[in-house]
Symmetry: C2
Subunit: 419 residues, 2 copies
């Protein structure tokens, strides 16, 4: 007891108040402990938080928020910290409220296709825990092995399969949130989103915790599709790949996923943990998946590959089994992380363009790459025109960070185009 008291003597009043709510061991306040919280997956900007508080239930969130508001100390909710848009990045001096310890599933009702989880519940765990019963959770950001459902709500996360299945907002039935006042409110009733009044579920989803902190999430779960087919199409010319994307959608097929990588991105993923053996001299590949009922699924993938052939594809192949399919997806989902294998630093941008402008915008990105003398890899959800240019740079070279930042801004400007 004496030792413990002494340990706390140097602490300021706020830290002690927070400790009184969550417990001494649930507050980080030493500089060495805070360093890894200076940014999230978006590493271009950093700020030192004042403290990190690990909450374990809704009441604690409410008490922490009330305490901080009373003291006029800003706070930021944080999930796994994998987000690429800086939603959990401190400017400096904030208290981070970490929700990773609120990680339980509270309720599962497969008959009505819903699950209730705490915000720190890991995305992939949901699918893993219900897949043996034939169900899954659709939104699949590439970070799904680590990212949390609460973080997905905060960022309205998409994923490779949002082309067909929509983004997080399309899968949320109800939320419990703690308002800045500390008040706890529930939105959505009986897991039914069609409520009188304004669509607050939609407003809150993607609001990055700025309107309230999500403490409970009711999500839709879906029945596994009866069948899946996954194909790779290798192109010598990236414009042909872009045109194939347009033509597949124009043919009236909605693939479950339609992903594209350019040659720099391929260099990255082939140097990382899950190499597939993609040809290293191609300009681009498409990773295409269709799902649905078993009857006719072979025809669907054949129709798509025919469109690829009409667009000068070099080679196509269909995954021969689930193991091969999984490897292809692991390779794709390593994409951003894999940039570490070929570049000390990278900056990722996230923009959406009409699919018909793909070739034009890709050409502009190439120009931007030359202008700033920085390599830019492209990994993207081509089916819905969702670009992710990855600007590779070395922060230890004076001026490169700034150049990367300017190149990134120019990429985002370019996407607005002349439409």
């Amino acid at each position: 007891m004496f030792g413990k008291k002494r340990k706390l003597q140097g602490l300021d009043a706020i830290t002690r108040k927070l400790m009184a709510i969550v417990g001494e061991n649930e507050v980080l306040y030493k500089k060495e402990d805070l360093i890894s919280y200076e940014c999230d997956g978006y590493t271009m900007y950093k700020g030192m938080p004042r403290a990190v508080v690990f909450v374990k239930d809704t009441q604690q969130v409410s008490q922490v928020v009330q305490c901080l508001n009373k003291e006029e100390i800003p706070y930021i909710a944080r999930g796994a910290g994998t987000g690429l848009s800086g939603g959990a990045t401190p400017l400096g001096g904030e208290v981070l409220i970490s929700l990773v310890k609120m990680k339980r599933m509270l309720h599962l009702d497969l008959e009505n296709r819903k699950a209730v989880v705490e915000p720190g519940y890991i995305n992939l765990k949901l699918t893993q825990s219900i897949s043996d019963k034939g169900y899954y959770y659709a939104p699949d950001p590439s970070s799904q092995y680590a990212c949390t459902i609460g973080g997905n709500v905060a960022e309205n996360s998409g994923g490779a399969h949002c082309l067909k299945y929509g983004v997080t907002t399309n899968h949320i039935l109800g939320l419990e949130i703690v308002l800045p006042s500390g008040e706890i409110v529930e939105i959505g009733e009986e897991g039914v989103p069609d409520q009188p009044g304004y669509d607050l579920l939609g407003l809150l989803t993607g609001s990055e915790g700025t309107l309230g902190i999500v403490t409970k999430v009711t999500v839709k779960v879906l029945k596994n599709p009866e069948a899946k087919k996954t194909a790779l199409a290798y192109f010598d010319d990236i414009d042909d790949a872009s045109q194939a994307v347009s033509d597949i959608i124009a043919a009236g097929i909605i693939p479950a996923a339609l992903e594209m990588m350019d040659e720099i991105a391929i260099e990255g993923v082939e140097s990382a943990a899950y190499p597939v053996g993609h040809p290293r001299d191609i300009a681009s590949f498409l990773l295409i998946e269709v799902d649905g009922i078993a009857v006719g699924i072979d025809d669907q993938i054949e129709e798509i590959l025919t469109v690829c052939k009409q667009n000068n594809v070099r080679e196509v192949k269909v995954a021969k089994d689930e193991a091969e399919r999984s490897l292809w997806w692991a390779n794709r989902k390593m994409g951003f992380g894999a940039m570490g294998a070929i570049s000390p630093d990278y900056l990722v941008q996230d923009g959406v363009i009409p699919r018909t402008r793909l070739p034009e915008v890709l050409a502009k990105i190439t120009q931007i790459s030359r202008k700033y003398d920085l390599r830019i890899a492209n990994i993207f959800h081509a089916g819905d025109g969702n670009l992710h240019p990855l600007i590779l740079f070395d922060a230890s070279v004076p001026g490169e960070s700034e150049r990367a930042s300017r190149a990134g801004s120019e990429c985002l400007k370019e996407k607005r185009g002349r439409d």
Copy 2:
């Protein structure tokens, strides 16, 4: 000129100001002209508006709103007035801003699957104008021959096919709105909804004009499905029909539509404009549609009909051609209007329940019907548990309106249940 001046002499200053903005002939102010604007499709409550103003462009909406705000006169936006939830019902004394004369299509971009329309553009007209090119607009409220896209945005309208395709909010890419200040703002850029910041598109959709008046709508259009199959399943016991609904969804099939009618509803539609010849002694029918690629579609409908057979269906039939399919849908979509053929008045409620509670809630509605001695017809989007109990009454019988209103409230309470 002299006559005209004299005509306007008796008018108050507000009416003259409104006329100065939109033109003399575009303002209704006489009691006899206003009577049909006392309510919309929800006829239980009525209020006499002060005036109705027909606007023809965004600037006029802005000027009218500014004028009314300056004078502190409340206003209500109104589309075709077909809404069943009272979104355009005056309390008394408001100015109705009618958007039916803003009815043009402004832009069509099939390559990027979008159309830009004015708010008074009629829902069905959109599909009709692009169907020859192989496209359609998915949200299909039963009033689609008359209701406007702007009204659909205000009410976040659904329809028979929202089981598979979602409601209006899932099909809106951008909005131009006039704020209460008269300021004109655009939400959504290049028709791409994935914008930085809060999801204001979602917030505005379904807000009934209370946050702003929509003056331009960018919607998604979809490629026509390659094939459709439509079936009718007649049941002797309504619980069997409910169970079939649960079992179809549990089988992992998502029909494009899954509609249910009970025997009173069938009596109505068979007495109205599009009789199908449904057996008159059944308890309920399901109208089921699947769509998608042609291959496998027969298997899908067969699988559904097998589920019906496992639930004691009396008879099933598949539409033999597009004409028969159209008749079935016209019959279904006449549902609410058809109540006029069997009852002087009706009150419709709109509630959503988990599908698994269908039999229980239908039994409760039957009890409520007995308790208040009023017939209640059920027409509903069974696939997503969206009930529409229609309480039949005669407003000319003293006390019946009140009884209907109490019965309606009890139906809505019942849907909340014990979940």
